[in-house]
Amino acid sequence: MAQVPEGGGGGGGKGKKRAKKGSTHIDMTPMVDLAFLLLTFFILTTTMYKPSSLQMTYPVPPKPDDPPPPPTQLSNAVTLLLTKNDQIFYYKGEFRKEATEKGPPTTLTQTNFKDVQKLLVENNKQTVAKLNEVAKEFNEKKITEDEYNEKRKAIKGDKDNLKAIIKTDADAKYRNMIDMVDEMDISGIGSYGVVDKLKPEEQALLDVEKAKL
C-alpha cells in the first residue's frame, strides 16, 4: 500500500545514483540585492567635488629703468578699505588730507558686504545697464557667446567707468578680498586693483574708525 519511492524498485542500483536535474534558473535575488546596495552606496557617497577658481592677473612689476607710469586718474574711483569683523570703509575720489578747492577733507564711510554691492552698482549705473542690455541680447540669442564676451570686455574697459581700489589692512581676511573681487564682477567694474598696504594717512583714519567697532 505504501508508495514506492521512485527508483526504489527494479533491479540494480543505477537509478539511485542519478543526480537530480537542477533547474536552469538561479535565484538572482540576493545578487541583485547586493548590486543595488553597492550602487546605492556609490551614488550616495559620491559628491561632485569641483572647486572653481578666480583668474587673477597682477600687473608685472616695473623694471628699475622703466619710466614711472602716469598717475592713475582717481576722480572716478572708490577706495575700499577692508578691515576686521568683515567691515568695509570707503571714500570716493582722491584722498584729501585737508580741504582743497576740490572738496572737503576725506572722511571714511562704513559699509559691509551686504550693502557694498548696492553702493557699487549705484555708482556704476551706466555700465551695469549696458552690461544688462548685452546680457539680454545674449539670452535672446541675438548674439553669439564670443560677441557677448567681446562686448562685455569693451563695456568694462571704458575709461570713464568707476574704478575701485581694494586695500586690506592687517586685520582683513583672505575671504574678504575674494568676496570683494567677486563684487567687482557683479557690479561690472573692469579696472580694480588689490593693494595690501594702506597709506599712513589712510591707516590713521581707519584706526579711528576701528576703535569704534
Binding site: H25, M28, T29, M31, V32, A35, F36, L38, L39, F42, I43, T46, Y49, K50, P51, S52, S53, L54, Q55, M56, T57, Y58, P59, V60, P61, L82, T168, A170, D171, A172, K173, Y174, R175, N176, M177, I178, D179, V181, D182, D185, I186, D196
Partner: protein
C-alpha cells in the same frame, strides 16, 4: 470567444537585463570614483561666483592654511620626484626610493627644506601630518624666502620638460589674514619668477549649485 488569447505570463521575471544594468552602473561608479585624498592641510576655501574650473594636471598649488603656513603641491608624480631631488641637493639630502614614494603621495608639503629628510623618514601619513603641524611651513619671509626656491625649481624643471609654464594656483583658507596671502603673491611677482597670472581656488557659491 475573443480571438486574441493573451499568453499567460510566467510570474517569474527574467531579471538578467536588470542585473546587467545594475552591475554596469556599479562597475562604472567603482571605477570612476576617486577617493578624495586625505588632506594634509585643512583648508576651507572661500566661495565665489566664478564658474571656471581648475585643471587636474600640470598645476602647482600653493596652499595657505588658517594660521598662514605655506605649503607646496604639484599634481604630477614625476615632477614631484624631480623637485624633491633638486631641492634635496641644496641640503645634501639624497632621498631613497621609499622616501620618494612617500613624497609623491604626500599631497601638500610644507616644511623648511632642511626638514624634508626628517619629514620623509616618518612612516605614516598621520605622523607626517603631525610633523607638519608642529613645524613652521615653507618660510616666505624676505630674509629666507624658501617658497621662491620651491617655485623657481618647479618652474625650471617643468619648463625643461614640457616647454611651457605650469598653471599656478593659490589655495588659501578664507579666514587667513590677507597679509599672509599677500606675502605669497609678492613672491609670485618677485623678479626671477614673475607669475602675474594665477588662479585663486574657491568653492562655487551655494546659490549657484
Amino acid at each position: 470567444m475573443s480571438k486574441i488569447k493573451m499568453p499567460k505570463s510566467s510570474p517569474a521575471l527574467d531579471m538578467t537585463p536588470m542585473v546587467d544594468l545594475a552591475f554596469l552602473l556599479v562597475t562604472f561608479f567603482m571605477l570612476t570614483a576617486q577617493f578624495r585624498p586625505e588632506e594634509a592641510v585643512a583648508v576651507d576655501t572661500p566661495s565665489s561666483m566664478s564658474q571656471s574650473t581648475i585643471p587636474t594636471e600640470n598645476m602647482m598649488t600653493i596652499v595657505v592654511d588658517t594660521t598662514g603656513k605655506v605649503f607646496w603641491d604639484f599634481t604630477d608624480k614625476k615632477m614631484r620626484v624631480a623637485v624633491l631631488e633638486k631641492l634635496g641637493e641644496r641640503v645634501n639630502y639624497v632621498p631613497t626610493e621609499e622616501e620618494k614614494m612617500k613624497f609623491v603621495n604626500a599631497g601638500p608639503v610644507g616644511v623648511p627644506i632642511q626638514d624634508l629628510k626628517a619629514l620623509l623618514s616618518l612612516e605614516t601619513g598621520a605622523e607626517r601630518k603631525a610633523f607638519m603641524a608642529s613645524h613652521e611651513g615653507i618660510p616666505v619671509d624676505s630674509t629666507n624666502n624658501q617658497l621662491f626656491e620651491w617655485i623657481s625649481v618647479t618652474r625650471n624643471i617643468f619648463w625643461n620638460d614640457a616647454g611651457h609654464n605650469p598653471v599656478v594656483a593659490l589655495k588659501a583658507d578664507g579666514n587667513t589674514n590677507y597679509s599672509s596671502v599677500a606675502d605669497v603673491i609678492r613672491t609670485f611677482q618677485a623678479p626671477g619668477v614673475m607669475i602675474s597670472k594665477f588662479k585663486m581656488i574657491t568653492d562655487l557659491e551655494a546659490s549657484r549649485m
